[in-house]
Protein backbone atom coordinates (compact mmCIF):
# COMPACT_ATOMS: atom_id res chain seq x y z
CA UNK A 1 0.00 0.00 0.00
CA UNK A 2 1.34 3.40 -0.91
CA UNK A 3 -0.81 5.30 1.58
CA UNK A 4 -2.86 4.08 4.54
CA UNK A 5 -6.07 2.36 3.53
CA UNK A 6 -8.11 4.90 5.50
CA UNK A 7 -6.94 7.77 3.32
CA UNK A 8 -8.08 6.00 0.19
CA UNK A 9 -11.41 5.33 1.86
CA UNK A 10 -11.73 9.02 2.69
CA UNK A 11 -10.94 9.93 -0.93
CA UNK A 12 -13.53 7.46 -2.19
CA UNK A 13 -16.07 8.79 0.31
CA UNK A 14 -15.41 12.36 -0.78
CA UNK A 15 -15.93 11.46 -4.42
CA UNK A 16 -19.04 9.44 -3.63
CA UNK A 17 -20.70 12.19 -1.68
CA UNK A 18 -19.74 14.86 -4.19
CA UNK A 19 -21.47 12.69 -6.76
CA UNK A 20 -24.46 12.30 -4.49
CA UNK A 21 -24.67 16.03 -3.93
CA UNK A 22 -24.54 16.58 -7.67
CA UNK A 23 -27.26 14.02 -8.24
CA UNK A 24 -29.51 15.71 -5.73
CA UNK A 25 -28.80 19.16 -7.04
CA UNK A 26 -29.14 18.48 -10.76
CA UNK A 27 -32.57 16.89 -10.55
CA UNK A 28 -33.76 18.79 -13.61
CA UNK A 29 -31.04 17.77 -16.08
CA UNK A 30 -30.95 14.15 -17.15
CA UNK A 31 -27.41 14.29 -18.56
CA UNK A 32 -25.88 15.77 -15.42
CA UNK A 33 -27.74 13.24 -13.27
CA UNK A 34 -26.10 10.45 -15.22
CA UNK A 35 -22.72 12.12 -14.89
CA UNK A 36 -23.16 12.29 -11.12
CA UNK A 37 -24.05 8.58 -11.02
CA UNK A 38 -20.83 7.86 -12.92
CA UNK A 39 -18.87 9.73 -10.27
CA UNK A 40 -20.48 7.67 -7.51
CA UNK A 41 -19.83 4.36 -9.25
CA UNK A 42 -16.25 5.39 -9.81
CA UNK A 43 -15.79 6.05 -6.12
CA UNK A 44 -17.15 2.58 -5.34
CA UNK A 45 -14.66 1.10 -7.76
CA UNK A 46 -11.88 2.89 -5.95
CA UNK A 47 -12.90 1.23 -2.70
CA UNK A 48 -12.89 -2.21 -4.30
CA UNK A 49 -9.50 -1.74 -5.91
CA UNK A 50 -8.04 -0.34 -2.69
CA UNK A 51 -9.38 -3.35 -0.82
CA UNK A 52 -7.85 -5.64 -3.38
CA UNK A 53 -4.48 -3.98 -2.89
CA UNK A 54 -4.88 -3.95 0.90
CA UNK A 55 -5.50 -7.68 1.28
CA UNK A 56 -3.71 -8.90 -1.85
CA UNK A 57 -6.88 -10.41 -3.16
CA UNK A 58 -7.98 -10.32 -6.80
CA UNK A 59 -11.72 -10.25 -6.03
CA UNK A 60 -11.74 -6.49 -5.61
CA UNK A 61 -10.40 -6.01 -9.11
CA UNK A 62 -13.10 -8.33 -10.48
CA UNK A 63 -15.74 -6.22 -8.86
CA UNK A 64 -14.23 -3.10 -10.33
CA UNK A 65 -14.25 -4.69 -13.77
CA UNK A 66 -17.82 -5.92 -13.33
CA UNK A 67 -18.89 -2.46 -12.23
CA UNK A 68 -17.36 -1.05 -15.37
CA UNK A 69 -19.24 -3.54 -17.53
CA UNK A 70 -22.47 -2.77 -15.70
CA UNK A 71 -21.88 0.95 -16.06
CA UNK A 72 -21.33 0.72 -19.78
CA UNK A 73 -24.57 -1.23 -20.13
CA UNK A 74 -26.42 1.23 -17.93
CA UNK A 75 -25.06 4.26 -19.74
CA UNK A 76 -25.85 2.88 -23.17
CA UNK A 77 -29.44 2.25 -22.13
CA UNK A 78 -29.77 5.55 -20.31
CA UNK A 79 -28.41 7.56 -23.21
CA UNK A 80 -30.67 5.70 -25.62
CA UNK A 81 -33.48 6.74 -23.29
CA UNK A 82 -32.21 10.35 -23.36
CA UNK A 83 -32.26 10.34 -27.15
CA UNK A 84 -35.75 8.84 -27.11
CA UNK A 85 -37.06 11.42 -24.62
CA UNK A 86 -35.41 14.24 -26.53
CA UNK A 87 -37.12 13.03 -29.67
CA UNK A 88 -40.48 13.20 -27.91
CA UNK A 89 -40.29 16.60 -26.27
CA UNK A 90 -37.07 18.24 -27.50
CA UNK A 91 -35.77 18.66 -23.99
CA UNK A 92 -33.99 16.61 -21.36
CA UNK A 93 -35.52 18.50 -18.49
CA UNK A 94 -37.01 15.88 -16.16
CA UNK A 95 -39.71 18.28 -14.99
CA UNK A 96 -41.23 18.11 -18.45
CA UNK A 97 -41.87 14.38 -18.16
CA UNK A 98 -44.41 14.41 -15.35
CA UNK A 99 -47.59 13.29 -17.05
CA UNK A 100 -47.98 10.33 -14.71
CA UNK A 101 -47.78 12.52 -11.64
CA UNK A 102 -51.11 12.18 -9.81
Amino acid sequence: MIVPFEQILILAGLLFFIGMGGLLAWRANLIMMLVSIEVMLNAVMLVFVAGSARWGNAEGQFFAIFIMALTSAEVSLALAMVVYLHRRKHTVNTDMFSELKG
Binding site: M1, G13, G21, W26, V35, V39, L46, Q61, L70, S76
Partner: protein, 168 residues
Protein backbone atom coordinates in the same frame (compact mmCIF):
# COMPACT_ATOMS: atom_id res chain seq x y z
CA UNK B 1 7.80 8.47 -0.95
CA UNK B 2 7.49 9.72 -4.48
CA UNK B 3 4.49 7.47 -4.99
CA UNK B 4 2.87 8.93 -1.92
CA UNK B 5 3.33 12.48 -3.21
CA UNK B 6 1.94 11.45 -6.59
CA UNK B 7 -1.05 9.89 -4.88
CA UNK B 8 -1.87 13.08 -3.00
CA UNK B 9 -1.55 15.19 -6.12
CA UNK B 10 -3.79 12.79 -8.02
CA UNK B 11 -6.32 12.69 -5.21
CA UNK B 12 -6.46 16.48 -5.20
CA UNK B 13 -6.89 16.56 -8.98
CA UNK B 14 -9.63 13.95 -8.79
CA UNK B 15 -11.58 15.73 -6.08
CA UNK B 16 -11.22 19.20 -7.61
CA UNK B 17 -12.04 17.88 -11.08
CA UNK B 18 -15.15 16.17 -9.78
CA UNK B 19 -16.31 19.24 -7.87
CA UNK B 20 -15.82 21.38 -10.97
CA UNK B 21 -17.62 18.80 -13.09
CA UNK B 22 -20.61 18.79 -10.78
CA UNK B 23 -20.84 22.56 -10.41
CA UNK B 24 -20.12 23.43 -14.05
CA UNK B 25 -23.19 24.71 -15.87
CA UNK B 26 -21.98 23.73 -19.31
CA UNK B 27 -22.32 19.99 -20.02
CA UNK B 28 -19.31 19.76 -22.34
CA UNK B 29 -17.04 21.47 -19.83
CA UNK B 30 -18.40 19.22 -17.11
CA UNK B 31 -17.53 16.17 -19.20
CA UNK B 32 -13.99 17.46 -19.76
CA UNK B 33 -13.48 18.07 -16.02
CA UNK B 34 -14.78 14.61 -15.29
CA UNK B 35 -12.39 13.10 -17.83
CA UNK B 36 -9.50 14.79 -16.05
CA UNK B 37 -10.73 13.37 -12.77
CA UNK B 38 -11.10 9.90 -14.31
CA UNK B 39 -7.56 10.07 -15.60
CA UNK B 40 -6.16 10.73 -12.18
CA UNK B 41 -8.32 7.92 -10.85
CA UNK B 42 -6.83 5.60 -13.46
CA UNK B 43 -3.33 6.49 -12.33
CA UNK B 44 -4.39 5.91 -8.71
CA UNK B 45 -5.56 2.44 -9.75
CA UNK B 46 -2.20 1.89 -11.38
CA UNK B 47 -0.46 2.90 -8.17
CA UNK B 48 -2.72 0.50 -6.29
CA UNK B 49 -1.24 -2.37 -8.32
CA UNK B 50 -4.26 -2.84 -10.54
CA UNK B 51 -2.93 -1.98 -14.01
CA UNK B 52 -5.74 -3.93 -15.67
CA UNK B 53 -8.42 -1.86 -13.96
CA UNK B 54 -6.46 1.31 -14.70
CA UNK B 55 -6.31 0.51 -18.40
CA UNK B 56 -9.98 -0.42 -18.52
CA UNK B 57 -10.85 2.73 -16.63
CA UNK B 58 -9.33 4.81 -19.41
CA UNK B 59 -10.59 2.63 -22.25
CA UNK B 60 -14.14 2.25 -20.98
CA UNK B 61 -14.83 5.30 -18.83
CA UNK B 62 -12.85 8.01 -20.55
CA UNK B 63 -12.75 6.42 -23.99
CA UNK B 64 -16.26 5.04 -24.34
CA UNK B 65 -18.73 6.22 -21.74
CA UNK B 66 -17.69 9.85 -21.59
CA UNK B 67 -17.36 9.93 -25.37
CA UNK B 68 -20.90 8.60 -25.55
CA UNK B 69 -22.04 11.44 -23.30
CA UNK B 70 -20.18 13.92 -25.47
CA UNK B 71 -21.74 12.40 -28.58
CA UNK B 72 -25.25 12.70 -27.21
CA UNK B 73 -24.64 16.27 -26.06
CA UNK B 74 -23.23 17.24 -29.43
CA UNK B 75 -25.90 15.40 -31.40
CA UNK B 76 -28.89 16.69 -29.42
CA UNK B 77 -27.32 20.17 -29.10
CA UNK B 78 -27.65 20.26 -25.33
CA UNK B 79 -24.72 22.60 -24.75
CA UNK B 80 -26.81 25.63 -23.88
CA UNK B 81 -26.48 26.44 -20.18
CA UNK B 82 -28.52 29.59 -20.68
CA UNK B 83 -31.66 27.54 -21.30
CA UNK B 84 -31.98 27.33 -17.57
CA UNK B 85 -31.87 23.74 -16.43
CA UNK B 86 -29.07 24.39 -13.95
CA UNK B 87 -29.94 24.25 -10.29
CA UNK B 88 -30.28 27.42 -8.26
CA UNK B 89 -29.19 28.02 -4.72
CA UNK B 90 -32.41 26.53 -3.33
CA UNK B 91 -31.61 23.16 -4.86
CA UNK B 92 -27.94 23.31 -4.03
CA UNK B 93 -28.03 23.86 -0.30
CA UNK B 94 -29.95 20.72 0.78
CA UNK B 95 -27.69 18.62 -1.42
CA UNK B 96 -24.62 20.34 0.00
CA UNK B 97 -25.88 19.92 3.54
CA UNK B 98 -26.57 16.23 3.07
CA UNK B 99 -23.21 15.61 1.38
CA UNK B 100 -21.30 17.53 4.04
CA UNK B 101 -23.00 15.65 6.87
CA UNK B 102 -22.30 12.33 5.16
CA UNK B 103 -18.67 13.17 4.47
CA UNK B 104 -18.05 14.39 8.01
CA UNK B 105 -19.66 11.33 9.56
CA UNK B 106 -17.72 9.05 7.23
CA UNK B 107 -14.43 10.70 8.13
CA UNK B 108 -15.27 10.46 11.82
CA UNK B 109 -16.12 6.77 11.51
CA UNK B 110 -12.96 5.98 9.58
CA UNK B 111 -10.67 7.88 11.92
CA UNK B 112 -12.25 6.38 15.04
CA UNK B 113 -11.64 2.88 13.66
CA UNK B 114 -8.02 3.59 12.97
CA UNK B 115 -6.35 0.29 12.22
CA UNK B 116 -2.70 -0.50 12.11
CA UNK B 117 -0.88 0.16 8.85
CA UNK B 118 -1.26 -3.00 6.82
CA UNK B 119 1.74 -4.88 5.55
CA UNK B 120 2.06 -4.36 1.81
CA UNK B 121 0.42 -7.24 0.01
CA UNK B 122 2.17 -8.84 -2.93
CA UNK B 123 1.24 -7.48 -6.35
CA UNK B 124 -1.00 -9.72 -8.41
CA UNK B 125 0.12 -10.48 -11.93
CA UNK B 126 -2.39 -10.08 -14.70
CA UNK B 127 -2.13 -13.78 -15.52
CA UNK B 128 -3.13 -14.64 -11.97
CA UNK B 129 -6.02 -12.19 -11.98
CA UNK B 130 -7.27 -13.62 -15.25
CA UNK B 131 -7.04 -17.18 -13.99
CA UNK B 132 -9.04 -16.31 -10.87
CA UNK B 133 -11.57 -14.40 -12.91
CA UNK B 134 -12.33 -17.11 -15.42
CA UNK B 135 -11.97 -20.14 -13.14
CA UNK B 136 -13.85 -19.01 -10.08
CA UNK B 137 -16.17 -16.36 -11.45
CA UNK B 138 -17.04 -17.76 -14.84
CA UNK B 139 -20.74 -17.53 -14.12
CA UNK B 140 -20.47 -13.86 -13.21
CA UNK B 141 -18.61 -13.16 -16.46
CA UNK B 142 -21.36 -14.91 -18.40
CA UNK B 143 -24.04 -12.98 -16.56
CA UNK B 144 -22.32 -9.69 -17.24
CA UNK B 145 -21.99 -10.53 -20.91
CA UNK B 146 -25.68 -11.46 -21.05
CA UNK B 147 -26.50 -8.16 -19.43
CA UNK B 148 -24.44 -6.32 -22.02
CA UNK B 149 -26.40 -8.14 -24.71
CA UNK B 150 -29.68 -7.09 -23.11
CA UNK B 151 -28.46 -3.51 -22.95
CA UNK B 152 -27.55 -3.70 -26.64
CA UNK B 153 -31.00 -4.97 -27.60
CA UNK B 154 -32.68 -2.40 -25.38
CA UNK B 155 -30.65 0.45 -26.79
CA UNK B 156 -31.43 -0.69 -30.33
CA UNK B 157 -35.13 -0.84 -29.51
CA UNK B 158 -35.16 2.60 -27.91
CA UNK B 159 -33.10 4.17 -30.64
CA UNK B 160 -35.21 2.80 -33.49
CA UNK B 161 -37.02 5.49 -35.44
CA UNK B 162 -40.76 4.83 -35.62
CA UNK B 163 -41.49 3.69 -39.16
CA UNK B 164 -44.58 2.90 -41.17
CA UNK B 165 -47.73 2.39 -39.17
CA UNK B 166 -46.01 2.98 -35.82
CA UNK B 167 -45.47 6.62 -36.72
CA UNK B 168 -48.31 8.92 -35.95
Amino acid sequence: MIEQAIFYILAAVAVIGTILAITEKHPVHAIMYLVTSLFSMAVIFFLLMAPLVAAFEVILYAGAIMVLFLFVIMMLDLGHPEQGMSPGWQTWWPALLLSTISIVSLVVVIISHRAVMAAPAAALSIREVARHLFQEHGLAVELVSLQLLFALVGALYLGKQPTGKDAK
